[in-house]
């Protein structure tokens, strides 16, 4: 039965490790590990503010292999986020979202959202200082959505502040709603892959788009590769879980915010933007734009078929490299500029904060980016696909730099500081 789940024959070229990097299969393995260890922890965990922390301590101290199981859950969850993100990048850069795969791209985005939400809801459950305050500030962000924001925040927190209702909400979402969503969406995702005739066939830029190459039986060719990837990954997760314990700080204290208080690492990019721009822009305008662009990308008409070619074409490779280089220079400069030189609040004290700290910096950043975009577009003569790719690469590089800055370079009071000082 399980063997029927996989295709009978596969295109030989798609077996190359450098097409998929085994990322989709890794995600499945990690999700299975998470389900397994999650179910085990459900036997000891108690979702009440006065008991949650103690039940985690009990799990770690008294339960045989308790700490080990929690470590596996922790590391699998964190690696999963990286793996699904890399999988998303792989699919984008090999053009595997073009028709007939456009709807599977959308399903993939929702799966990504489910994984992100799983990780975030799981973050609160230990009820230590780290989780309590990270969730407080992340749900605090909802307040800036106009109209429904406050209502939504009350709904998710189950009250006006993070408390017992929040914990039981997050517990239900983490252990029932999201696993159910994953169990429904994942087979749908795999079925669409097979419906499209398997994976996108990789090819060199000058090759004909119709090239498919030979087909070989799935067993043993595909199966063997999947099993090897899974075993190596499991070994890695187990090793990490033996040597590194999942973090657990003191019990949550609503009266004392630790300094600095940080969001979970995968939201640090947003938290970093928050330091520079008005919350309305960061938490409403930017996510809406990202969602719109990602959802519509596969439905745009492109001048040529580029599916299967890494970075679309030779021009695409050159322009993407330049966009990344520009972001690599511009983002740190922007951060330093805002930290030490620009003081909109002091220059324009009369203006509303939303315009002063939101609109003006945004216009500044956008105009610089647009200038660079026009210059690069002229230089390389990019077509529509390559231009979109340039914007994507720029945003991606900038976001990674912002995330790294947030994780490692923000010290007490969220001022810039070096981690070893």
């Amino acid at each position: 039965m399980i063997l029927h789940f996989r295709p009978r024959t596969v295109a030989e070229r798609t077996l190359r490790f450098t097409l998929t990097w085994g990322l989709g299969g890794m995600a499945v393995v990690l999700i299975l590990l998470l389900f397994g260890t999650g179910i085990l922890m459900k036997f000891t965990y108690q979702p009440f503010p006065d008991k949650a922390y103690a039940s985690i301590l009990h799990l770690q101290r008294d339960v045989l292999f308790g700490q080990f199981v929690r470590n596996i859950h922790h590391w699998s969850g964190n690696i999963l986020l990286i793996v699904v993100f890399l999988h998303f990048l792989r699919v984008f850069f090999t053009g595997a979202f073009h028709p007939p795969r456009q709807f599977n791209w959308v399903i993939g985005l929702f799966l990504f959202l489910a994984v992100l939400m799983s990780s975030f809801t799981g973050y609160l459950l230990p009820w230590d200082q780290l989780s309590f305050w990270a969730v407080t500030i992340c749900t605090g962000m909802l307040e800036y959505i106009p109209g429904v924001g406050l209502w939504l925040q009350r709904l998710i927190r189950g009250g006006s502040e993070v408390g017992a209702s929040t914990l039981s909400n997050f517990y239900a979402i983490h252990t029932a709603v999201l696993p159910a969503a994953l169990i429904l969406l994942m087979p749908f995702h795999f079925w669409r892959v097979r419906k499209a005739g398997g994976l996108v066939v990789p090819r060199a830029p000058q090759e004909d788009p119709g090239t498919t190459g030979d087909r070989v039986p799935g067993i043993p060719n595909l199966l063997l590769r999947e099993v090897v990837t899974a075993l190596v990954l499991i070994a890695l997760v187990l090793m990490m879980s033996v040597y590194f314990n999942a973090p657990l700080e003191g019990k949550a204290n609503p009266g004392l915010s630790p300094n600095p208080t940080k969001a979970p690492w995968y939201f640090m990019g947003f938290q970093e933007i928050l330091l520079h721009l008005h919350p309305f822009i960061t938490l409403c305008v930017i996510p809406a734009l990202i969602a719109l662009v990602l959802l519509s990308t596969p439905y745009v008409r492109y001048p040529s078929r580029t599916a299967g070619v890494w970075f679309a074409s030779a021009t695409g490779r050159r322009s993407a490299r330049d966009a990344a280089a520009f972001a690599l220079v511009a983002t740190p400069l922007g951060i330093l500029l805002d930290e030490y030189i620009v003081e909109f609040a002091a220059w324009m004290p009369g203006l509303a904060p939303a315009i002063r700290n939101g609109l003006f910096p945004l216009i500044g950043v956008l105009s610089v980016c647009f200038g660079a975009y026009v210059v690069l577009k002229r230089k390389h003569g990019t077509d529509k696909m390559e231009s979109i790719q340039m914007i994507f690469v720029f945003c991606l590089t900038a976001f990674i730099i912002l995330t790294m800055t947030g994780i490692w370079l923000r010290g007490p009071g969220m001022r810039l500081s070096l981690p070893w000082m």
Partner: protein, 177 residues
């Protein structure tokens, strides 16, 4: 009636039939959507925070902070259970300031040396009146209604008041004894 007319009538009738059918189809679809919306409404109503428990909390929400004399001029006293700071300004007026940062809801500690509330999360700062001293906080700290009866300061912690900035009429002064 000529043949042509008859033909025309038959055509019309046959055209009407699918119209009725499609109307019924639309009706079913509409009813289906209404049913789904009703279920969604029930789910949301079920999940919304219960009103009763919040009413209960409001009954015991009036905190007696202490006698006026207990608080020196230009001082800030923390009330952990009430989740507020009682600030006495230099001119003797009182202000009950929320400890919740208006940026993302962290708890702001009072720094006596620097004479400001400094948020550890994103570096916002507020002065003793709760006014924003440095961004990213978009507005001043919330305040709670405060009354002084028989020289006893009482704070109603159930209803935080949002404000964009500090105004002199927010300060409550004790009657001159």
């Amino acid at each position: 009636m000529s043949r042509k007319q008859k033909k025309h009538e038959i055509k019309e009738r046959s055209a009407k039939k699918p119209a009725r059918r499609s109307f019924l189809k639309k009706l079913w679809l509409g009813l289906g959507i209404v049913a789904v919306l009703e279920f969604a409404g029930v789910v949301v109503a079920y999940l919304l925070p219960h009103r009763r428990s919040s009413e209960k909390r409001e009954l015991g929400a009036l905190v007696e902070a202490g006698l006026v004399e207990r608080f020196p001029l230009n001082s800030v006293t923390a009330f952990v259970r009430g989740k507020f700071y009682l600030c006495r300004l230099e001119d003797g007026g009182f202000l009950a300031v929320s400890r919740k940062c208006t940026h993302l809801g962290c708890t702001v500690p009072w720094l006596d040396k620097a004479q400001k509330f400094a948020c550890p999360c994103h570096g916002s700062a507020f002065d003793i009146r709760g006014e924003v001293a440095s961004a990213p906080a978009p507005r001043a700290l919330d305040i709670f209604p405060l009354i002084i009866e028989n020289r006893m300061v009482k704070v109603d912690t159930s209803k935080p008041i949002k404000r964009s900035g500090f105004r002199p009429e927010q300060v409550v002064y004790p009657k001159k004894a």
